[in-house]
């Protein structure tokens, strides 16, 4: 039997008196495209941070392809195959696009502690250039990240998350703040991802979320309240009640 890519069993996360995530049990199968939806404050990003290790869970367990990762630190989880982006871009503003991608590539390769500069034929630099090309950023290799537009920063975020060839890619609101003109480009990027990659996506833009994923989990008050195929989620009465109010 195939092990789930991500298996959450009764995962909880508490901040003092606030129970941000409550007993979430969830299986995401390899190659699945899963959207996590819900109103602001539902616990979606906290759930992401718990899976990635930024906030260790206060209850329950997390497994990645059958390996228990509950007690691991963020960099150890990344080395096991998790790649992620953040709700607000977390980039290295003082460095260039190429340097950002190079750091991302070297993170999971030998020589991440090297005191020698990479040569012209360095595999890591070549991979960073290839990623920039894929993210449509190759004309900005030498630009400082601080000076990129918001859309370009989001593209770079995704490129950096893909740099380590993750087995599970977790994108936290990749369309947040994007102009309507930038959204088709993001959708194209998501659709071009290899089918073997497991994708978990938090997104408020329903068009993007439902076009790029197969299954949707809806959260409210830290609990997963609905799990359904993407093409049937909009008609679900609980979802309508959450987004439109109980009168509908």
């Amino acid at each position: 039997m195939t092990e789930p890519a991500i298996r959450l069993q009764a995962v909880s996360r508490r901040f003092g008196a606030l129970q941000a995530v409550r007993d979430v049990t969830l299986d995401v199968m390899p190659g699945e495209r899963r959207a996590v939806l819900g109103p602001n404050g539902a616990g979606k990003t906290t759930l992401f941070n718990t899976i990635c290790g930024d906030y260790p869970p206060t209850g329950g367990s997390i497994a990645l392809f059958g390996t228990d990762i509950t007690g691991l630190r963020p960099h150890q989880r990344t080395r096991l195959g998790i790649g992620r982006t953040y709700q607000t871009s977390l980039l290295f503003n003082g460095l260039t696009v190429l340097e950002n991608l190079f750091i991302a590539v070297r993170g999971l390769r030998p020589g991440r502690f090297s005191f020698l500069r990479p040569g012209r034929g360095d595999e890591g630099v070549a991979r960073a250039r290839e990623l920039a090309d894929r993210m449509r950023l190759s004309h900005l290799l030498a630009a400082e990240v601080l000076n990129l537009s918001h859309g370009q920063r989001r593209q770079l975020e995704v490129g950096m998350a893909l740099a380590g060839d993750p087995r599970v890619l977790m994108l936290d609101e990749p369309a947040a703040g994007l102009s309507p003109g930038d959204r088709p480009e993001l959708l194209r990027l998501l659709r071009e991802l290899p089918r073997s990659l497991t994708l978990i996506l938090i997104e408020h833009d329903m068009d993007i979320a439902l076009s790029a994923t197969d299954v949707v989990s809806v959260m409210k008050d830290g609990v997963v309240v609905v799990e359904a195929p993407a093409d049937r989620i909009e008609d679900h009465p609980v979802v309508q009640s959450i987004y439109l109010g109980s009168g509908h």
Binding site: F92, E99, F102, G107, R112, L116, L141, E144
Partner: protein
């Protein structure tokens, strides 16, 4: 990944190398020698120690107040182990063995400081490193068996370089300048290596660095080790310059002086440490001539205030502002990753995030 080895740095180094021969053409013989040994030589030595602080602050975002203490560890290790020092504590090694041992001790102390302060940042890091520095200072001041307490250890005269006596002002000046240049260009090289780029990543966003698979703590400790080695080089030279070492040279005053040098020069680039050190040394030396010896702290305080008010980036910030005014360009271009790096006029500050 290449960076343009700043031509201005190479030009400056050439001028500094030639200075001991140029100064006698401009000044009387006695004054020229005084400037070479007591102003420039001393500024270079303390500039190296200040550069260890600048390296951590500029590229890692860590301001450490333990750097003077780490320099002192190197100085004391040298004084304890080298033969001829008074009083003799161990005194079994020649300079060829005692100097590497001193650098090793400083690097180890840097690593220890990094490990102890691993989880602290900003003001908390400042306070922890200051507390550790003062703790070591008090221990050394009160320990007679190893450190000879308040009096310290004397007669550390330095080695002979290819038959040339280290006590010769010219020999010392060029040895200090050579060491400073090696360390300075070494840092410029290091910050474009994977280690250096990740260090800058930690400065900008440690959480993201961890999410890319790096053990942030290890990198941070290694950066403190590198800074410890740099401070150790300064500590060895300063001990030989002073022909010995005493606890006063690593006390609170000396610790704050290193911070002042770094801030006056500017924390944006390693060269700032040497500029700050030169300004500090000139004011320190000529305070009595300018106003009154006892008013040195007032003078250095006023200089500090003026530079911080005019240019928060220190003296190097003044230079950069003037250059931009003269050339009417927002920022100079430099070469990174084999590409010409351009900085178009920024409309966004570092702290500003789009929604």
């Amino acid at each position: 990944m290449r960076s343009r080895a700043a031509p201005w740095s190479l030009l400056g180094l050439a001028v500094l190398l030639a200075l001991p021969w140029l100064l006698p053409q401009l000044l009387p013989q006695g004054q020229a020698q005084f400037w070479t040994a007591s102003i420039l030589g001393r500024a270079i030595v303390f500039g190296i120690i200040a550069m260890s602080l600048t390296f951590l602050a500029t590229y890692g975002g860590f301001v450490s107040l333990a750097q003077m203490m780490i320099a002192g560890i190197a100085g004391y290790t040298l004084a304890i182990f080298v033969e001829g020092a008074v009083p003799r504590v161990v005194g079994l090694l020649g300079y060829g063995a005692a100097i590497p041992l001193a650098l090793l001790a400083a690097t180890a102390m840097g690593i220890l400081m990094g490990a102890i302060s691993l989880r602290s940042r900003d003001i908390y890091l400042l306070m922890i490193t200051l507390a550790l520095g003062m703790g070591v200072f008090r221990f050394i001041e009160t320990n007679i068996a190893w450190f000879n307490g308040y009096e310290g250890i004397r007669n550390v005269v330095g080695p002979s370089l290819f038959g040339l006596d280290f006590r010769n002002a010219l020999v010392f000046y060029h040895a200090a300048l050579g060491t400073a240049a090696l360390l300075y260009f070494g840092i410029l090289y290091l910050v474009k290596t994977p280690f250096g780029l990740v260090l800058q990543g930690i400065r900008d966003n440690p959480r993201r660095v961890a999410a890319l698979g790096y053990a942030v703590g290890l990198h941070r400790i290694a950066a403190f080790g590198v800074a410890g080695f740099i401070a150790g080089c300064g500590g060895v030279l300063s001990t030989i310059y002073n022909i010995g070492i005493s606890p006063g040279s690593i006390g609170l005053g000396a610790t704050v002086n290193i911070l002042i040098m770094s801030v006056i020069g500017g924390l944006g680039h390693p060269i700032g440490a040497f500029i700050g050190s030169l300004i500090f040394t000139v004011l320190d030396t000529f305070a009595a001539t300018i106003y009154d010896r006892d008013r040195f702290n007032t003078l250095i305080g006023l200089a500090f205030l003026a530079i911080v008010l005019v240019s928060p980036d220190g003296a190097i910030g003044v230079g950069a502002r003037l250059r931009r005014l003269l050339t009417a360009q927002p920022r100079p271009a430099s070469r990174v990753c084999g590409e010409v790096r351009s900085r178009p006029p920024s409309t966004r500050t570092a702290k500003e995030e789009p929604p």
